[in-house]
Amino acid sequence: MKKSACIIVLALLLFITGLSQVAGIPREETLIVDVLSGRAGSPGNFNVFTSAWRNPDRGIQQLILEPLWIVDPTTGEVINALASEEPIYNKDFTQMTIKLRKGCYWSDGVEITADDIVYGIETAMKYTAMGSHDTFNLNVKKVYKTDNYTVVFELKEPNARFHANFIDRWGGWRPFPKHVFEKVDDPITFDFNPPISSGPYVLKDYDQAGYWTLYEKREDWERTPTGMLYGEPKPKYVLFYYYGETSNKVIAQANHNLDMTDLTIEAFRALTQRNPYTRAYRIEYPWIVNVDPCITGLTLNNEVYPYNIKDVRWALTLAIDIVDYIGIAFDGAAPMGVLHLPPTPYYLKVYYEPMEEWLKNFTLDIEVNGQPFKPYDPSATLRAAQYARERGYTVPNDINELKEMFGPGWWKYAPDVAEQLLIRNGFKRDKNGKWLLPDGTPWKITIINHPSPSHPSNRNGLAAAQQWRNFGIDVNVVTSESIQDITFFGNYEVSTNWPAPEPWGGHPDLDRVLSPFHSRVYKPIGEYAVQNGPTSRWTNPKLDKIVENMEKIDWNDPRNLELGMEGLKLLIEEMPTIPTFGYPGVVGWDEYYWTNYPGAENPYTQPYHHWPNLKYMLPYLEPTGRK
């Protein structure tokens, strides 16, 4: 009796285990990646060309869409994808010409030509709900082709950055097939299912509940920019699966059911205990991705007293011990960034290194020991390395390697100077050492913080609170799901929004970073700011001038780089927002089925599975042969 019961239970378990496998898709030929943006709301809709949100990172932008240009923050390149060369402007920037790559085909066998581009732009301009509708209507007077591979835009006003609307950096205008869309009554309600692909994969199947989407390699992959530029993608299938909570991702990768995912650093550590094949961007500490083109930090509301005083903003900066700060936030694993630019290897080379002498000589309008105070501390890198060693991690001695790991330096921890700056503005301490405002009331800072404890913004908020409390300021941290709306309306003192808009990541042009600070987009408190930078409500006529000069010249003009540096210097002098560390992305890669991911030892392309550049990574992946 007992024996037969055991047999029944065993048979049931085998039956169950058998059913839990992926049905009919060979695992060793499939790359499984996580979906960052969640469960697809309307899974049967692949029309990402409207202004609605369709979860493009469930493989749509990574596998079946090729843009005209795409930026790679690891190599620093702006890659010509469907375009065969860089945009061509006339002298006064009122005309832009795009040359298309020849021999690229949609997955249904129709060639991709200038007709697709012209039709796409005209359709976007015609329908309000199409993506880029307003952008094109504001800028484009006329668009036409001069031959099958050449498109000309005549612009309403001179615009040396018009091509920026076509550069894919987790978004951007991408061509769609004219021969499909022109046959439908309404391109807005059209679900584009099955989608016709310009990329190296086609849709094979999708979950009608929105959790997964499966793609299969195109037989004619060589007729796509990916195939032409990088060769044949290795996985036959790519499965995008939304696993949800971090615990599910850990379980899935521990069971080798998830090859590429994003994680928290704590989850990554837990996973490495369970799966010897799991690795991060770096094989050893600090593990994190250091090529993410995003700087994190603190945003001060420059229209709220006392953050409208430059000395106060600088005092708050100098009250931070950056090594301790990053220790609290990420156990020292994030790279410090002193500029309003992420300290990626690319920007270290283009901006940080050329500006280092200026940083070393930069002085604040205050004297220490009879000398103007120089706040820059290049030795912060070595202090960060020492912190890591004391925590038991092995780190190299080479200073250049350390700069890439921990960032090239930050501001001195100078609470004494911070105190002087405050005192000269009428602040004082009470008998307990707590800071009082000039009117004698206690100084209390409220930081509005991101709600997710694993988010770098949240960690910034907690670290800043700790640092400023140590300095004697009463700090209250309020987390809110509505942080974006609250801060964009300006109803805050200090927030953990990005301190500056994200740069391209792969070109010296800083118009993306600086132009949102221009006074023309200023919104007073109570009105919605347009981007992260303007939430600080800081404007400056000097910056306006820099931006205006920038926009008059080609983005490849050497003067553009100089203007970018001028803008960065002004942001440092004024310190409207406080950059702290580059975005410390944590990826978990399972090397059980696939290897040769673009890790720090071989950074051939950007490392994220949710970026549209994933298609350019796939030709480099290698199957391990495990079944």
Partner: protein
């Protein structure tokens, strides 16, 4: 006629008032939060990196406000909403524009309904039966054991319990899938391959709900029965020499079920709200995550769609209980 006037009509009026007030509240509450659906869409488009000229952002905000029908005063929007709702139209989802809200709900509703109706009924039947028996035979060893198990299970936070099941049966003993509603590559259809796959994927989410549901029903029912066994009519039945099983089922448990029927109806009415934690822990499709996403993105129409169904569901279930209660309770029937 008297039944309609004195019993049916007041309850129908009450149902309509509850629905009207409930829907009115859920119309206004999201609009009073600082979340702006237009800005959420713009942020989603720009936050990851797509370039947008600030002037174009302003123009886009204006276009989307018009497109989403968010122009005009709140009351103007309110009356327009009722006009649409009477025709059964919740309008388009703002975040997934122009996909109709009902289409999005219909993607998730079958999953939620399938899981929650089944688990609610199973846990109600088993929990009440065991609770009733344990309450009546409270001195038996098995009753004490069940009581102890329930006391241990009942206070465990649902999130912890479901996570425990997930780690145990999807990782340490990986016999069940950790996520999803069915296997990749499987075609939805009325065939054994799909049904068995669906059952396997639903097993852990269902178990998490059923086990804790049984424990909850068990404890409530046991408490109710503990009071009933001390009633005179039960003592009288015992003194009259009736069989224990007859007393337990026909005199005690049957009477104890009356308040539990109300609980069942309300639980069934609540399914339109989804089971958010179950869906998050097991990555199981359903209305909970749909509603959660809608709240985060300020998708007023979708919030209205899901919550209106929930209001109607709960009010409808209450009305139904009121109407069928006389069938279970002769005292009300005779009144």
């Amino acid at each position: 006629m008297l039944f309609i006037k004195r019993y049916l009509l007041p309850r129908i009026v009450q149902f309509l008032v509850v629905v009207f007030v409930g829907i009115t509240i859920v119309f206004f509450v999201p609009r009073l939060t600082p979340v702006d659906p237009v800005q959420q869409v713009i942020s989603q488009i720009t936050s990851q990196g797509a370039f947008m000229d600030p002037a174009a952002v302003d123009a886009l905000r204006q276009s989307l406000t018009e497109l989403y029908g968010l122009e005009g005063g709140m009351f103007q929007q309110y009356f327009a909403f009722w006009g649409r709702l009477i025709k059964g139209d919740f309008g388009p989802s703002l975040f997934q524009f122009p996909t109709p809200v009902m289409d999005l709900i219909m993607i998730s509703l079958p999953w939620t309904a399938g899981l929650l109706i089944t688990t609610t009924i199973i846990s109600w039947i088993i929990g009440n039966l065991l609770g009733g028996l344990a309450g009546y035979f409270k001195n038996k060893a098995w009753a004490k054991t069940l009581d102890n198990i329930s006391m241990v299970l009942r206070p465990i936070p649902y999130y912890i319990f479901s996570l425990l099941l997930l780690i145990l049966f999807a990782y340490l003993i990986p016999i069940f899938p950790s996520a999803g509603g069915y296997s990749v590559g499987r075609r939805i259809g009325f065939n054994w391959a799909f049904i068995s796959d669906l059952l396997i994927h639903s097993f852990l989410p269902a178990m998490s709900l059923v086990i804790l549901g049984i424990a909850a029903n068990f404890m409530t029912m046991k408490l109710i029965v503990s009071n009933i066994v001390a009633e005179d009519y039960v003592m009288y039945a015992k003194a009259g020499g009736l069989k224990e099983s007859t007393i337990a089922f026909k005199y005690v448990i049957k009477n104890g079920l009356l308040p539990q029927i109300t609980g069942l109806a309300l639980s069934l009415g609540q399914i339109f709200g989804g089971a958010l934690i179950t869906e998050i822990v097991f990555s199981y499709p359903g209305l909970g995550t749909l509603l959660y996403g809608a709240i985060n993105s300020g998708d007023y129409n979708l919030i209205m769609g899901v919550t209106s169904l929930s209001v109607i569901g709960i009010a409808g279930a209450t009305l139904l209980v009121d109407l069928i209660y006389p069938l279970f309770d002769p005292r009300i029937r005779y009144r």
